[in-house]
Symmetry: C2
Subunit: 321 residues, 2 copies
């Protein structure tokens, strides 16, 4: 009986921003994330006697254009593990757009897990992380729970995630603040590429990440919440400084993003624990403690009418159900 | 008969951001500005038989706290030129806060001119620029009209502005968009200091300015408006990337600043000439042509209700009236 693979989304505290190798999705730097418990993707793969993959997402059959990225990925997987079969892929995505998280991390991690399961590849987690990375860089980290580091590596075999602490006994929780506004978006792939090619600050970013990874790992080991918050916020803002200094300049910030950053500063001035992290979009994730999250959520919701907030806690790695 | 010195404000197209020497106000990099015609400061200095300077601003006598920076500056001037007299300083500032420009550039340039006049120091413009720089770095540039470069130098005598083209025959005009919102402000002095000390990108900024100064001077010589706009916008955004990447991160942007940046992109997509430059505050200055400025102003005013816009053209250097 083939089982369904379930993988959770993750939030990068030290960001992945820039590919050294587009084809293999090898990054310029390591990155470090926290796997979350609330948002996940369930994927079941079964081999079929067909010369084309059949893919359904949330019970809807995807057409050629919609399924192209997944079919290309399956071609890569077939090549990597030297087999020919095609698949029926049934994916259910429990990462609502309205929660402000990208679904590619949990999506490609679950897909890698599903192929591993149905083809009985018996991959260990390192191999699974490599397989997931070939779909989406950040998916490499969703193989593990808790704090996870993705080692940049230098080729397909050396670029994979490792667990830092899968079940950390640490009082962190995340508030996702979603801005109810649709703006034209620069995809993270394009945004990364423009930053690498044109930001005069990119070389300094590579050096920065290397030192902030070391610092945050030390802070995690020491359960130093404030340090974790400070490093995460600084790293995220520095990533956004790369987009601002790209040529031409661009930003993922919406007006409301600046407002939320201002509110987080106000909250912190009241002695309440709250630090910002922001991915390639206008939404803000606020790193909180179990003590602070209620007050942070209330404050944000009182000050801003056009946002939705969602709470997520530390989650675990890929599982089969 | 002692004359009044009149100096105009200027807008930096290549920003001054970071002091190598605080006392002497020596910058880390050159900067390049455009002197404007609409906003200026008139200052009359007369020697008085008193052991303290008496300073009035817009006919109001300044108290000790309010006049401290000016009195300290006058002490520096007395030391530089080895004299003892104190002054009555009458300053009229025609740089309304509501126009979104800092008055320190025109203010200290006019004050330097007024002392030169009343003490009959017969300073040439280079010496006058050095004298103004000792009051406020950007004042060094307000001695000249048109495009002006401030050479960073390495000591008091070598750090002064030079004219690039005092009366450029070039179709540029500026729209200042002032956000009607008072937010707690990080002064530019503190903002610079934090950026220099804590932004991991500062060393790359120094290199960037050096190449953008060369490029914009070439563009000015060739009257290449688009290049001037592009370089100016990129340089300004890169300066703001330094604040975002400072540790702790900060920004001069207000929510409306992001909105105006978005609108400028929309305007440009319609084929209308408009580029942004932003100083140490939330207001945006839009670099326009005589052809585009009316449409830019209308577009901004239609989209945003809570802003004030002001037009300024290319202005000339210090004069005596």
């Amino acid at each position: 009986m083939t089982r369904t693979a379930r993988a959770y989304t993750n939030i990068a505290l030290i960001k992945y921003w820039g590919k050294k190798n587009k084809q293999l999705k090898l990054p310029y730097t390591n990155s470090l994330s926290l796997t979350l418990d609330r948002f996940y993707t369930d994927t079941l793969a079964t081999t079929i006697d067909n010369d084309k993959d059949i893919i359904t997402l949330n019970d809807q059959l995807l057409n050629d254009a919609e399924s192209k990225r997944i079919r290309n990925y399956l071609d890569t997987v077939r090549q990597m593990y030297s087999f020919d079969e095609h698949f029926q892929i049934k994916t259910t995505n429990h990462v609502p757009t309205s929660a402000g998280f990208a679904s590619s991390a949990s999506g490609f991690a679950a897909l890698a897990g599903a192929i591993n399961e149905t083809k009985q590849l018996n991959l260990d987690k390192k191999q699974l992380s490599i397989l997931a990375r070939n779909g989406s860089g950040s998916a490499s980290r969703s193989i593990y729970g808790g704090f996870v580091e993705w080692n940049a590596g230098f080729d397909n075999e050396s670029s994979f995630a490792v667990p830092i602490d899968e079940t950390p006994d640490i009082d962190l929780t995340l508030l996702s603040v979603v801005i109810n506004q649709h703006s034209k978006k620069v995809s993270s792939t394009v945004g990364m590429e423009n930053s690498v090619k044109t930001s005069p600050f990119y070389s300094n970013w590579v050096t920065l990440v290397s030192s902030e990874i070391k610092e945050i790992k030390q802070a995690i080991a020491q359960k130093d919440l404030q340090k974790i918050g400070e490093i995460s916020e600084h790293n995220a803002m520095s990533m956004h400084a790369l987009t601002l200094s790209a040529n031409p300049s661009f930003t993922y910030f919406a007006p409301e993003t600046i407002r939320i950053i201002q509110l987080i500063k106000e909250i912190r001035q009241k002695g309440i624990f709250a630090y910002a992290t922001i991915d390639a979009g206008p939404n803000v994730k606020i790193i909180c403690t179990k003590e602070s999250i209620q007050r942070v959520q209330t404050y944000i919701e009182q000050q801003l009418s056009n946002v939705t907030t969602v709470v997520a806690n530390i989650g675990h790695g890929i599982e089969y159900i």
